[in-house]
Amino acid sequence: MVYLILLLYFAFTFWGSLIGANTKNQTPESYFLANRNLGTLALFFTILATNFSAFYFIGFAGEGYRVGYAYYFIMAFGTAFAALSFFIIGHKVWQLGKDKGYLTPPELIYGETGSQSLRYLYASIMVIYTLPYLALQIIGGGYILENLTGGQIPYLLGTILLTVFTIAYVLIGGMTSVAKTDLKQGLLAILFMLLAVIFISRDLGGLAFANEQLFQSEADLFQPTGKGEQYSPQKWFSLLIVWLFCIPMFPQLFMRFYIARDLSHLRKSALLYAGIPLVISLFPVIIGVLGHLSFPGLEGKAADQILPMMLVEHTTDWFAALVMTGAIAAFMSTLDSQLLALSTIATRDFYLPISQREVDFKKEVAIGRVFVAIFALIGLFIAFKPFATIFDMGKLSFAGLAILFPLTLFILRVGKVNPAYGIASIGIGQCLLLSFYYGWLPKAWLFGFESFIPILLICFLIVGLGTRRQKTSLPLKDEGNKKT
């Protein structure tokens, strides 16, 4: 039954990809940006599906287990607050994309500053810090398949199978098929998570009863400071605010600002993006928290598997398979978007400018496909030996990307940014981030905040010093990129 459900899901997804693969009259806009023509619901679900990934299913449940209900609010409110970026950043990105034909974030940076060096640096950071987040999807998929099949598909084999499948349907369909599968996968994920909470809590005697039971032994899980008082005021502040800065810098999300049909659809999807996490963020966290009743004592990375473990323990095989299929859907919807975004950046912001070649659209897509495979394999390599918990790998990714925010904001909203200052803000920001991460700089200097808080302040200062308020945009220079 488990294998049947999995096979049906893969067939359904692949069929959707084939429908999206329209090989007639394809242009870069149609392949990479779905013709900049997505309406509110499709846009919202493609953003949501991109955002709510293995990090949502596995990471939320894992942190719910490790921290408690405080984690729910961090993610729900933090994500909602990040919807402000749709207005602050998204509107301008959409407008510039429409007016000047930008397809990638670094293209916009180059078009508005004229600096090829800044473009390369910006693109490099986006690629480097998206790779661990990309690997998370593969890791999550591996865990799910292993638990779902009782170990018959071991972790490593599961990661390979899912990665190969995702590569296949991305190569065929491009962004149109990605957006269409995101809509279906988003709906599936929400529905199945809700049912999972209902069935698991019913098996535990009802949600209220289970929570009352748990409160007797693990009252810390119900504190706003989290289990073991993990969320100090500084950490709470840091984890709530980071999403505003990092979410718009995910390349797969940044590029979705380009694909709205018009600003009205972008605004409406922003409101949905702010409201929906209020409900759906609760589902995996509840399962993670209640995991203490069935699987006490899990530590570190072991807790990342609490969601599949609870499903297998408290529901039927077929239902567990359905929910985990929804989870795999989430994992693949994020992975496919990341692969498409990174391959587009690698092609248009590295390969073509550096090679100085003029290519037609078909050749551009062919080059992009090579990069899809390359990045998928890198993600797979990272997944073979994860270097931290899913949450911590995600946190590193998010912090690295957030450092791009000050430069992006000033370019879009304030004025003409001197590229040297832009390069300095990114370079110094990344050096500081890695210094704190590896312990070369003492954590005491952070006064309890997460490192990206003071680093972001420094980046804002540097960019601010190098910005002239009178904004004049430079025309986009076409070097080796032939527009079709």
Partner: protein
């Protein structure tokens, strides 16, 4: 100038909502299980989330008209 003032007011509003999300450091909310067994403070904070969404809705209408 008028537009800058309006933008500043919106920034202050969203800043205030964000500060509300830090209020448990000053106000001792109960963490006892309440509705559905979820802690009482969580329900209060969900109310703050709803407030944020409402503010975003009004903000989006204003920017649309502008």
């Amino acid at each position: 100038m008028q537009r800058t003032r309006v933008n500043l007011l919106w920034a202050l509003l969203f800043g205030a909502i964000f500060l509300l999300s830090q209020s448990h450091h000053l106000i001792s909310f109960s963490h006892q299980p309440s509705l559905l067994g979820l802690p009482f403070w969580l329900w209060c904070y969900m109310g703050i989330h709803v407030l944020l969404v409402a503010a975003l809705f009004v903000y989006s209408r204003k920017t649309e008209h502008n």
